[in-house]
Chain length 630, copies 2
């Protein structure tokens, strides 16, 4: 009798494949969190999985699946987990893509992993230092460098002062064996007594306007050994980049104040990650840093004021290397802090890292990267040409300027579904808690569902005269009630108002019009786009189908959409692990052609057309057109 096995990728989780059960059911029983807003009814289409092997042991694709997926996707093995029933014993391998993950699982998405040639900037050498004699009283440093030169590729002459100061004691203990850490094959940055070769770590950090994410990497083995994250402590000085810059411009001490805050917080992250991995911070020998240009400048103590003023020039575009002690970063004081290069005032080192992580710059086919935030960075192109812009998409996707909006925190409604027959609302909340508000992805879902169910028209106007159960009008403003007072944590109902819809329309129009300008520059159409990468937190939460329905991005098959999570963090780690990637980052920063949308003649027009749902020109969105005509 053949083995009956369901393997869930990428974890490689091995489960019993009971005949008669749906994949969703088995996965949920085993604690693997797959999204399912309609609770397995085969309606919401959120529980997408890809069957890699053993499709012959599953039921045929249902009618609903043939609607949800394109022919291409069906061919590739896309199924809804709730509709794929095991009909025969056998081994089935199924991939659960990140966009189908629910709850906490999603918060852990740490970004795409592109394999890199492991070539860190720091290397350790174990050397034996000879004794001086009366006839040949060579200096400690000369004797150490002599021994090192036997091992290294070339003779190192530079020694960081703090490392130098450790030499006399180090060479006289540990039976004259010392471990020497060399940076970029040109400077000794640490000298330790005894064999400490395996104690070699680096830290990659993504400084977001809202959130910091850090990764402790074992630079001896090339593995990530711990992660830590926290909120950006600068938030009280302004929620977004512009208000932070304003603070620095107004207050002469603002820059050093904000810099001190971020340094302190990163030191905390390093300490936490090290503690978790039983590593001492002194064993961390390099830090790579990414972040948008303002965060980047502030971190290095560089005045960001002019970044906010037309023509928005950066102070520093290229990469920067600074000794940890000069910044007050608590690692080996001689350790290097490497800031990845930026592209423009509003396309920062995080975008460079995104590109690095997705390898767009090396792609033969045209790809697009969208990192959604208050400012949304968009990069489009291929190995020959990359263009980038920044759109003022505003904070709506982060739940701000939305009546019951909130961040994607516990209790936020993040998935919304409207029953096509009963028009009843289904929703999911973060951590499955009682709803206390609605986050960006929830609002996007709500708007998409309203459009699909014709509750709103392409101008976004709520149809109040249909007499639908969840539509009401308050103070003359129509709204969709997502949750009634009895269901919510506060006892107040949670709604999406006409004004909220308007905010979403403006935000997505900002993004789509930016995309349009870049595509026009490159003279490409939707057909030419082989891949769309969604990066960043919102890009991890948002439902790609809903986003496509409202016209946030060009109408490509969902199989071409990839969620890359914190790709900026991944890029930072890649730069930490590979000098080659660091050089690539430099090339990317120089190569990417930045387009200032404000200077583009078509931008205003593109923007107005894009405020429609999905777009004034419905022909640009054939899949949405089909859906609406259905």
């Amino acid at each position: 009798m053949p083995k009956s096995l369901l393997i869930l990728q990428p974890e490689g989780k091995r489960l019993k494949a009971t005949v008669g059960k749906a994949i969703l059911e088995i996965a949920q029983e085993a604690g693997v969190d797959i999204q399912s807003v309609c609770a397995g009814k085969g309606i919401c289409g959120k529980c997408r999985v890809i069957v890699r092997t053993g499709s012959e042991f599953l039921s045929q694709a249902s009618k609903v699946e043939r609607t949800v997926f394109s022919d291409d996707e069906v061919k590739k093995g896309y199924r809804l987990a709730c509709r794929a029933i095991i009909v025969k014993s056998g081994t089935i391998t199924v991939e659960v893509p990140s966009e189908s993950r629910a709850g906490l699982q999603r918060l852990l998405v740490s970004g795409v992993e592109t394999s890199v040639e492991f070539e860190p900037s720091v290397r350790k050498y174990l050397v034996e230092v000879g004794r001086p004699t009366l006839m040949e009283p060579r200096s400690d440093v000369d004797r150490l460098l002599d021994s090192l030169s036997v091992q290294g590729e070339r003779r190192i002459e530079r020694i960081c002062l703090d490392a130098l100061r450790r030499i006399p004691h180090a060479v006289r203990s540990g039976e004259r064996k010392v471990t020497v850490t060399v940076w970029e094959n040109k400077e000794v940055i640490s000298v330790e007594a005894g064999d400490k070769q395996t104690k070699l770590y680096g830290f990659a950090v993504d400084v977001g306007t809202t959130k910091l994410a850090g990764y402790l990497v074992d630079l001896d083995l090339g593995t990530t050994v711990a992660a830590a994250s926290s909120m950006n402590p600068q938030i009280p000085y302004g929620e977004d980049v512009i208000s932070r810059i304003s603070f620095v411009m107004k207050d002469p001490k603002g820059l050093s104040q904000l810099q001190a805050l971020i340094i302190k917080e990163i030191n905390k992250l390093i300490f936490e990650a090290c503690k978790r991995a039983h590593v001492t911070p002194g064993q961390v020998h390099e830090v790579t840093v990414v972040g948008n240009t303002a965060m980047h400048h502030i971190f290095f103590g560089i005045y960001p004021g002019y970044v906010a003023l037309a023509p928005y020039p950066t102070v520093l575009r290229s990469s920067i290397d600074v000794k940890a002690k000069d910044l007050g970063i608590d690692i080996n004081p001689c350790g290097n802090v490497h800031g990845l290069p930026v592209i423009a005032g509003f396309v920062g080192a995080d975008a460079v890292a995104d590109i690095l992580a997705t390898q767009m710059h090396a792609s033969d086919d045209v790809a697009m990267m969208i990192d959604i935030g208050t400012n949304t960075e968009i990069v489009v192109g291929d190995r020959n040409k990359l263009t980038a812009c920044s759109c003022a998409s505003g904070p709506a996707f982060e739940g701000a300027h939305i009546k019951n909006g909130m961040r994607a925190a516990t209790g936020a409604i993040e998935r919304v579904y409207i029953d096509p027959d009963t028009f009843k609302i289904g929703y999911e909340t973060v951590d499955n808690a009682k709803p206390s508000g609605v986050c960006g992805s929830g609002v996007v879902d709500a708007v998409a569902e309203m459009l699909k169910r014709r509750v709103i028209d392409s101008s976004g106007k709520i149809k109040t005269k249909l007499g639908l159960p969840n539509i009401s009008v308050k103070n003359g403003i129509p709204e969709l009630v997502l949750a009634g007072p009895s269901e919510t944590a506060s006892g107040h109902e949670i709604v999406v108002t006409q004004e909220d819809i308007r905010q979403i329309q403006l935000a997505k129009a900002a993004i789509f019009s930016g995309i349009s300008v870049l595509m026009r520059q490159l003279e490409i159409t939707t057909r030419d786009i082989s891949k769309i990468f969604f990066a960043g937190a919102f890009g991890t939460y948002v439902d790609p189908q809903s986003a496509r329905v409202i016209g946030m991005y060009p109408d490509v098959p969902l199989s071409r959409v990839q969620f890359v999570g914190n790709a900026a963090g991944s890029g930072a780690r890649m730069a930490l692990m590979s000098l080659k990637m660091r050089r690539k980052a430099g090339e990317i920063s120089e190569k990417v052609h930045y387009i200032e949308l404000g200077a583009d003649a078509n931008f205003q027009n593109e923007f107005l057309n894009a405020t429609f749902l999905p777009h004034k020109n419905l022909e640009l969105f054939p899949s949405v057109k089909r859906l609406l005509e259905d």
Copy 2:
């Protein structure tokens, strides 16, 4: 009628040459301080000058001059200023060598000046930085480096963080003209608004165990614009190098304590020199530092403990470059502090600088350099080979361990003369003040005079039975009374005791035996020595003839002896003004063969022979032999 003019070099002072007057008389009337212990009697032989032109307008060389000077010296124009009488109107040019200078003038001797190819490590460039545009919003740094690369020899990529932070404001003021300071053609270390090209200074400092000397150098013009000196503030922690090292070894905080003291003091010197020259310390962009190995290590915060333990290895031999802010040196924080290389544990960067200043390393003929101190460094050799050693000569030459000994401060008897007929004592004091003690050069003079007048024999024993007026015996110890109670500041007599003579014998024996070991190593004799340089403070005060009489150095004609004053300071300035000299210093540090006297089989024997006055083997000192037989 021809002009009657006396020109005194090196000042170029022009005086009226009155017929009938001696050069000494005219010079003293004009305030030019020429030594004259015997008050112009033609006996002491201290008022040596060299007649460069116009000897035909002077009296013939007297009998006493023909005794004092060798034939070679007479040929070169050597005269005693008191015996050279103007006999005819005409222009006479006379050089007053530094060893004939008296009083304050000598304190200002700033060391030999060797002309160097002016090639400082720092250069300033005035660049105009373009404006960014919407279509081309290049970064501030890129635009600045673009403009700079047009002027510089190659594109600079490195910018010191503090300089980088000044860029956004600097490029937006001063009509977009900025002055960029570049270090070693590879790093931008300063960016200033407007044209600041001529504000380019450096500071050279010699960190002596006892004294600090600093020189502010205009690195735009290549001139020394101010000097400042002070006592080493570490003196309370030990008078000599060994006791300072002991302090550091005993006290875990000792190193940082002594380092902080020296840094603070150097900052004071920089501040003072800058104030005097109307320069702000921020306009100082580099500091060069020399000092013995212990002072050098302590200055850089490098543990010097092992330097004091056999085999006395240094921690660092080669040169070192550290950012000023990393040491707390108050100049441009991005400015470089360059420590010249050392040779061995007891032959430091000061010796390297001495060699640099005297250019011994480039000499075709064998030269010898003697830098007298508690440890006396000796270097002997030529362009092919240089050997060096350090002798524990002790503090006697600095007035310590001498009954009425004192430093060469105001009131110190520094010149002693015994009248050959009356045996009366003549002396000179520093600043012509009432005598309050006797300094090293005074004791050396006294011993030499006693030997010459046969008051002592070659074993150093005072002959008490001659009934000489100034010889007395106190508590069984014979002594020479230099000044009676009525003449002195304290009202107590000032004496040189039998024990003081013994101290001088030991000290000079340490030096001469070191010289002997080096000469044996090089297989040379006294004849081969073309030049002997006396460096350092004592080397400036001591009378070379007296030193030769007591056998401190090989018996060469006085014309071969040159006083180079603070040659270490000169070498530090040369390294400041010329990258080529810096490279030379590196070569010197590697090339000089250090001899550890303690490991030399002949040393003990050489030492014992050298305790005699002038030496056990009188044949080694033919001129002294002649003098004693006279």
